[in-house]
Amino acid sequence: MDERRTLRRIRTGDSGALGAVIEQYAPYVYAIARNIVEPPLQPEDVEEISADVFVQLWKNAADVQEGKLKAWLAAVTRNKAKDRLRSLHIPAPLDEEVLELSLPGPEDGVVRQELRQLAKEAVDALPEPDRSIFLRRYYLYQKTDEIAAELGMNPATVRTRLARGRDKLRAYLIERGYSCEAANL
């Protein structure tokens, strides 16, 4: 798919181009949504969330940077799936896996943005396959057993590498002035 041309066509109201994007990315969007909401939600709920992601693309195609379509779809899918759980008062998976941070000042958008940037640096510094495992778990919400099966690893090995990743992330933030006093992991 020529992403640039396809996005331009969607922006001009070409529903056929939207159909081509659905054809290509529905499995990806569905998989992320499923990782987040199923269980407790059902496959038909996952399909509904997936459809909402593509409707949002139709409405907001002008916001999508060319070359960033996959990233946009992933981010919107994460948000929509978690919003659906929130609307049902169901906690999102992994919400309990937190770093408890003492901030040098008040929590605001700038601090949150900085934390995300530091997290990116820390994750990018992880060696492979630790980085991929970490992002499969915490970005794509894959279950540990699924990651192990896909990578041909023992689930215990995956859990060990995830723990190592969390330790490195915490250490990286501490080095940059954030106090991670406790981690609920």
Binding site: V29, S50, A61
Partner: protein, 277 residues
């Protein structure tokens, strides 16, 4: 402050990782649901379109020469049809490498087609150029289309000013040529109504008002000037008023060249809605 790790890594998109297996039935259901949701949103806008249509229809009764006369007999014929509810209009775009081998075939489906244009052709049409004698005030946005040394254009589009939200509600006008090639399908998507039909100089004329997706664009006016002897249709369209479209048409000079307007069947479907670029 408790910060879920899954939120902290929100900027760490893993481009290289793929997930999910293709399931044709599931993908079809998702696609159908998306199109249904889009249609539902569109139907909520339809009432305002109808109101506008009634106003324009009153004007049409005064100014248009309504006619049921068939187009002049010629080597070409253009059909304009409204698909029945539930019809999905489709075509394909075939992409080839430098050697001509097929690299990718995209099936394009339009369940939201308002009007569909298909053609009969016994010959190849020729390239048509035009020279505008009057245009609306420039919007200040980019203008696409370059005249040749004598001022003839193949297409011309005033894209309008894009606002702070990255959109911009108006695409004031555009002029393009549709060629009547057998096998080609053109689609006007969205809720649209034929508001006037008649003759315009030597042309058969149709005026269409269309609401539009994405929603950030204002509704569009489409003036079609049809020549079935030469096998082309001038399309003057924009978010400016239909009076502006007619004014452009009234002062448009048109030239049919000797150059064949070749048709590439690899791209056998297209849309004619107003659009940028």
């Amino acid at each position: 402050m408790k910060q879920p790790i899954s939120e902290l890594v929100g900027d760490c998109f893993p481009e290289e990782l793929t997930l999910g297996e293709y399931d044709a039935a599931r993908t079809a259901r998702i696609k159908e649901n998306v199109m249904k949701k889009i249609q539902q949103e569109k139907s909520t806008r339809r009432s305002s379109v109808r109101k506008t249509v009634r106003i324009i229809a009153l004007v049409a009764a005064v100014t248009a020469v309504l006619t049921a006369t068939a187009y002049a007999a010629g080597a070409f014929k253009m059909h304009m049809d409204r698909p029945e509810e539930g019809t999905v209009v489709s075509g394909t775009w075939t992409e080839r490498d430098a050697e001509g081998n097929v690299e990718n075939v995209q099936t394009l489906q339009y369940p939201d087609a308002g009007f569909v244009f298909t053609f009969e052709a016994e010959a190849t049409p020729h390239v048509v150029k035009f020279r505008p004698g009057w245009l609306p005030e420039p919007s200040g946005g980019p203008i696409f289309g370059q005249p040749d040394a004598e001022g003839w254009y193949s297409y011309l589009n005033d894209d309008g000013v894009i606002g702070d939200d990255g959109n911009g509600r108006d695409i004031p006008y555009g002029i393009m040529v549709m060629y009547m090639n057998r096998g080609m399908t053109l689609v006007l998507n969205g809720a649209c109504e034929l508001v006037k039909e008649g003759v315009f100089g030597d042309y058969q004329m149709k005026e269409i008002h269309g609401s539009y997706m994405p929603e950030y664009l204002n509704d569009g006016n489409y003036l079609l000037l049809i020549d079935e002897d030469e096998g082309y249709c001038l399309l003057i369209r924009g978010t400016n008023s239909m009076e502006d479209m007619e004014h452009i048409a009234e002062e448009l000079e048109v030239m049919v060249t000797d150059e064949p307007a070749d048709y590439n069947p690899d791209f056998n479907i297209g849309i004619i809605n107003i659009g940028r670029g």
